[in-house]
Symmetry: C2
């Protein structure tokens, strides 16, 4: 099972758009995929058409209720399609942060929740909020791969070295070997900045950058508004092609064939 | 003195771009302006060309050191130009959050720091991080106006009602009357979604939306990369015209002429 965290503390660089559409494209290729929404703003949940009234328990209950063991992933997950399931988020999750910080082994909570799923899913995709707090840290400890979406603005590149430091810290302290790759998002090839920022990203990440580039494509925004992944909104657009290409690259790099 | 908080928990909707360029346009019109960077990622600081080595104390020291009274704004502020000053941020600020949470009257820390500046500045602009934590809450308690940048994606609109609830909470519990206005950012009039989202924003905010719309303009991204506000990067582009128009509207709505 491959667990991939989609992380970047920079806001608005395409984390949720990548989490939803990569998960949907992998499911399209007959992989069993679970999307976990770790953002209290629940945008991955909303982006798949779910509204707060559609579900009564969420990732919050799984994390906080972990110790008394009477809530399981089975009770919380929602089937978006046969192959694509989601563990929804909820604004309550922001109340979980101070609670988790008081607990021992707080960084292992998500790892413990996902452990029983080893043979049930091929991929678990974790959408993270725009900060490196306890929720993102849980995702880093639980994952074995990380994708860092980077838009072509300069602010996205500034935080990269700090993010890489945090990932190295997890690798050293938790005996992990998280495979990290950058992903160029919202790429508008009409602008000079896009090409420059791609070069800078490759340099900062020592070449660990996907060949696939996600182009700026309004269909991706429209799909999110309709509550659908791009695979069921529009198959004849750059957004669909780019995320399908990304899923091909992810499968090539993964041990799961 | 008008204190304006630039807030939206949605990441990447144009908070920092608005904070830097509105501050620079007001300074251009001979107002005395202080920009306060409340984001631990320090993007407003970086976007004005400052690097961590250029300063040794930041907003972190002002907030944490407030009680022993030996650090003043005078010692921390950096003059970007004659009329535009900035209180820089620093990654240490993320360590301030758990410290502030332990203190009594923690939500008043920024208010106390800014109080002595009453006659020194016409405008103080507060750039906030993409969450509603203790730093953004301090900004809300300190401000008398708030600007909510909203890009045309659907995710930006989802969090609006929760943000308005938080602002109302501050108004009721702290006896404030924060004037709130939405600002359409990254507006690409070639897309249908831009127009739709503008209508929805006006509906959600009961008409409290600036007439000025900030168009999508790569010059704004380029300026940030160069570490300059748009006023000193390019005066012949939509980004400059739109932020100058915004500053005109802000002056019209304000008591400061
Ligand atoms: N390739 C793209 N083309 C066009 N629009 C895009 C693309 N990728 C993302 N977007 C839009 O840009 C906005 C930001 O993307 P998204 O919300 O996925 O970023 P995020 O990193 O998850 O943000 P946050 O930091 O708030 O979690 C959204 O409105 C989304 O629809
Ligand atoms: N009107 C615009 N036209 C083109 N690019 C823009 C515009 N406004 C902002 N940008 C770019 O979009 C990206 C996001 O903007 P910005 O960083 O200001 O948002 P933010 O809300 O401050 O993000 P965060 O939530 O991370 O603090 C930046 O790369 C910025 O340069
Ligand atoms: Mg997101
Ligand atoms: Mg910002």
């Amino acid at each position: 099972m491959q667990i991939i965290a989609i992380i970047n503390q920079k806001g608005g660089c395409g984390k949720t758009t990548t989490a939803i559409n990569l998960a949907a494209c992998l499911a399209n290729k007959k992989k069993n995929v679970l999307l976990v929404d770790m953002d209290p703003q629940a945008h991955a949940t909303l982006g798949l058409g779910l509204r707060p009234g559609d579900y009564s328990i969420s990732i919050y209950d799984l994390l906080i209720g972990k110790d008394n063991g009477n809530i399981h992933v089975e009770d919380v997950k929602i089937n978006v399609s046969d192959k694509l399931h989601i563990i929804p988020s909820d604004v309550m999750l922001s109340a979980a942060e101070p609670v988790l910080l008081q607990r021992e082994y707080r960084e292992y909570y998500l790892t413990d929740v996902l452990k029983p799923l080893q043979d049930k899913y091929d991929f678990i995709i974790l959408d993270c909020p725009p900060n490196i707090g306890i929720l993102t840290f849980n995702a880093l400890v639980a994952c074995n791969g990380a994708i860092i979406p980077i838009d072509s603005g300069s602010f996205s590149l500034y935080g990269l070295s700090r993010l890489m430091e945090t990932i190295n810290l997890v690798n050293v302290n938790y005996g992990h070997k998280i495979k990290v790759n950058g992903l160029a998002t919202m790429y508008d090839r009409r602008t000079r900045m896009a090409g420059e920022s791609l070069l800078e990203m490759r340099r900062n990440l020592l070449g660990h950058v996907f060949k696939t580039v996600i182009r700026l494509n309004v269909r991706l925004k429209e799909a999110a508004k309709e509550g659908k992944p791009i695979t069921s909104y529009c198959k004849d657009c750059p957004g669909y092609k780019d995320y399908m290409d990304l899923s091909t690259e992810v499968l090539q790099m993964s041990t799961i064939k």
